[in-house]
Symmetry: C2
Subunit: 317 residues, 2 copies
């Protein structure tokens, strides 16, 4: 049976999977990523171990890599990745030689967007704006089934659009970036600030240590009716919609798809985003406001998209 | 000799021209637009008079309309135009019947962007972000020689992206829109506020009446070394670059082209924009920052682009 392998290379783990040519995940394996401080060799050894485990002695049709970093426009190199040791290496070519199989390489958000457009929440639509809310905000635009990669391969870096002049300091060195107001980090920051001031369900969840609070804890507390957690989602969701309104004015996509870890909260995140989008979008009375949908493929979207891209003819622009 | 006609339908005038199939303007005629308060019939009569004058008894290969308004995704209807009486009419079909020639219809900013990508500042590049600074900010994205029209035909409405939360009130009914900080209107507003407080070269130009001040006066005063006018350009140019940084992070275009009336100031506008773009663009150290170029085709860009689109096969998506 012919099969593909998709590999999602994140800052803390490698998720690799066997994928059928029509995009079904047969099985996955997880390996820990050695992290940024180790060598390129150690990282690539870890990827190789994951690929060999999935292949189990068979030869795949192709192997797709989804990398949490900036991939050049040609899909050959990881130019920079905050949590990985690659910095300009010709990753695609080197791993293709090592693995003896065709390899494709793209940014993880691009891969996830491609998977959602082929099989998930954006299936069958002419254009989709995909926003991935994890630690920060990433994303991609899919037009007629193709991911817009950009002249540098860097299209879709939505998280660092400035939304507040002289606003909150961002890890990128600038101020007022969108992801400072709408992301997993923003959600946790808002909840932490309140937990310090007053005890809530969250205080128990983090065992009285606000710095141990995580996004999934805030999601769980909101489910349980905790007001602090719910207000954090309202704020992050509202800012999500404000930023989406700008992107929708610019791109005019048929649908908006929100994925990433924070989107596990579903309508608790998306309802305030929809309200803010409707309120903030110019000309909303003269146009259709795009539907805001939750992503469907979950944490496997990146590896599925990478695997599907590995089955494509090489001439995507 | 085969020829095309391009018609730029603005809020105050109609600029129509004979255009060769390779995009050269042979001659133009200007008719006044009756304005929004008159009937659709009066407007279409004025367009017809302009087209007949250019045609001069000959039959064109096609006639392209560039309209200052929202055109639907199919290129058939003007859905809404703040300064024109059309509101959902099937303009393209009706005028094609009346004129006995193939007619195409698109938004004026889309037409100008298409012309710049075929013959002007974005010629030969894979992707271009075009920003048109007039009264407000319009624009378009050109990818592989095609203008991104969007699901509603409304892509490129950059001027109403929010850049300041609870910022300046905008004519659109929202607050803090980009064009409140970077546009011809913003330029004049900044200059007026200062002229009221202290006499400058501008005081003479507007004969002591700040409400008579225009954008071209501010441009002229800046040329003459007037500090108030120069500071107005610095501010508008800086905000231009901040907004461009967000759009470049999202689209990653090969070049940025700035057109529209305000761009007549050239580097006085573009230099502060380039500085702000370099400062505000995320990952500028890991990518090429796109060149910011002045548009080349001037006020005829819209009619040239419309004419060239009229020569295209009808299947643009």
């Amino acid at each position: 049976m012919s099969f593909l392998i998709g590999v999602d290379v994140g800052g803390t783990k490698v998720l690799a999977g066997e994928v059928t040519p029509d995009g079904r995940v047969v099985r996955t394996v997880t390996h820990r990523t050695p992290g940024r401080r180790v060598s390129v060799t150690a990282l690539e050894d870890a990827l190789t171990a994951a690929v060999l485990e999935v292949a189990d002695g068979r030869t795949p049709l192709g192997i797709g890599l989804a990398a949490a970093g900036f991939v050049d426009a040609a899909g050959e190199r990881v130019m920079f990745a905050p949590h990985l040791p690659w910095a300009g290496e010709d990753v695609r070519h080197r791993l293709a030689e090592r693995w003896g199989a065709p390899v494709t390489l793209d940014n993880d958000a691009n891969c996830a967007a491609y998977a959602e457009s082929r099989l998930g929440a954006a299936r069958g639509v002419s254009s989709a704006l995909m926003v991935t809310m994890g630690t920060g905000i990433g994303g991609a635009l899919v037009l007629d089934g193709r991911v817009l990669r950009g002249a540098n391969g860097m299209a879709g870096e939505f998280g660092h659009m400035q939304v507040v002049p002289d606003g909150r300091a961002c890890e990128c060195g600038r101020h007022g970036c969108w992801e400072q107001y709408s992301s997993g980090n923003a959600l946790v920051r808002l909840a932490r600030a309140r937990v310090v001031a007053e005890p809530t369900v969250l205080t128990d969840l983090c065992q009285g240590q606000p710095d141990q609070l995580t996004g999934p804890m805030v999601t769980a507390a909101a489910e349980d009716g905790d007001l602090v957690a719910r207000q954090a989602f309202s704020s992050v969701g509202d800012w999500l919609g404000v930023g989406l309104a700008g992107l929708v004015a610019a791109f005019d996509p048929a649908v908006v798809v929100v994925g990433g870890g924070v989107s596990a909260a579903g309508d608790r995140l998306l309802d305030p985003a929809r309200a803010a989008l409707g309120r903030s979008l110019v000309g909303a009375e003269h146009r259709s406001v795009p539907e805001v949908r939750a992503a469907l493929l979950g944490p496997e979207a990146g590896l599925v998209g990478a695997a599907l891209l590995a089955a494509e003819p090489p001439s995507r622009g």
